[in-house]
Symmetry: C2
Subunit: 175 residues, 2 copies
Amino acid sequence: MTDTAQSTKPVAGPLSDFEQSLVALGVSAASAFSLPKSVGAMFGLTFASPVPLALDDYVHRLDISKGSASQGLKFLQRMGAVRPVYVSNDRRTLYEPEMSLRRLLIGILNENVFPHLQQSGERVEHLREQLKDVPKEHRELLKDRLDTLEGWGKKGRMVWPLAEKVLSGPLKKKK
Amino acid sequence: MTDTAQSTKPVAGPLSDFEQSLVALGVSAASAFSLPKSVGAMFGLTFASPVPLALDDYVHRLDISKGSASQGLKFLQRMGAVRPVYVSNDRRTLYEPEMSLRRLLIGILNENVFPHLQQSGERVEHLREQLKDVPKEHRELLKDRLDTLEGWGKKGRMVWPLAEKVLSGPLKKKK
DNA sequence: CAATAAGTTCATTTTTTCTTGAACTATCTG
DNA sequence: CAGATAGTTCAAGAAAAAATGAACTTATTG
């Protein structure tokens, strides 16, 4: 370790209370969205750190394997929860947290929700065709259900743009 | 099997194409929200069925165990995705699907998201106190982060009422 | 009340998902 | 170039989640 750059300290040692709390918070938040614990912990630590962190920091401070850290960082980056920072004289990649709720949610939804939901739209199409094979006495009822189903998709698509505005905008005064 | 009531047929046999498609759709949707496959399949079948179904129907038609079916139904009921129907001369409990997207989403969020997120609010409080133990040169930056974090919570709480309106209301004409 | 049917519970097994760690690529550094 | 350093990959192990099935509880019914 060439201890030339004072800005590149290993940031070692056990977690401070503050860091521990944020790691724990990250873990809960992760489980709320059914993401792996380690990913939540990594985000929490990133969030708690005033300086950007490198892969090895996660390994040592969270006591996880290099493999987990590497994959976790890739994942956090892919979903835009964390962003790489390049510092001269340091060939490691450092990471700092994404602070925009909107981008965070987009990331989560892109990774976990939308991919599965996407295909659903196309399938309703196909369901309508199959409708002709159901006993005539039920056809009408089931057609109504498919209409409802289609409506769900439309409504879902209506909500996001709306939500986006709130999430990216400033906090408005109460009332 | 006392074959007296013609309305209480076992609804046996393999799944029709229509049913299969909806079961598959249910499974994808479930995985989008990180719910068990079996739960998605059960909802799909319920949705595809013009008549309410009993526990045994799920067991036989989806080829799952009685245990799974029982637990799955309890879960679907708890999250309001399915509702019990009582029919005279049938001592079984029959289930039909919830057709309100709003209620469905409330159910999912109540079961999986809110419980975890709830406690987060209280924790931010605690984090502020711990702030006094961090090195003074970082205190300001970290305080800003906590403010942001608090803002996330507030924004989240702002989105839901908005979304609710869209989800429960009628589909408006395009533009 | 004995037999049957509906439904629940929960210890065990199965399946899926996470994590690990060792081997590997690539890059710097003296 | 030899030796660190940074990071990736992926087979295998560990842990968590879901499904099974047998034993039970409660009704119901002849």
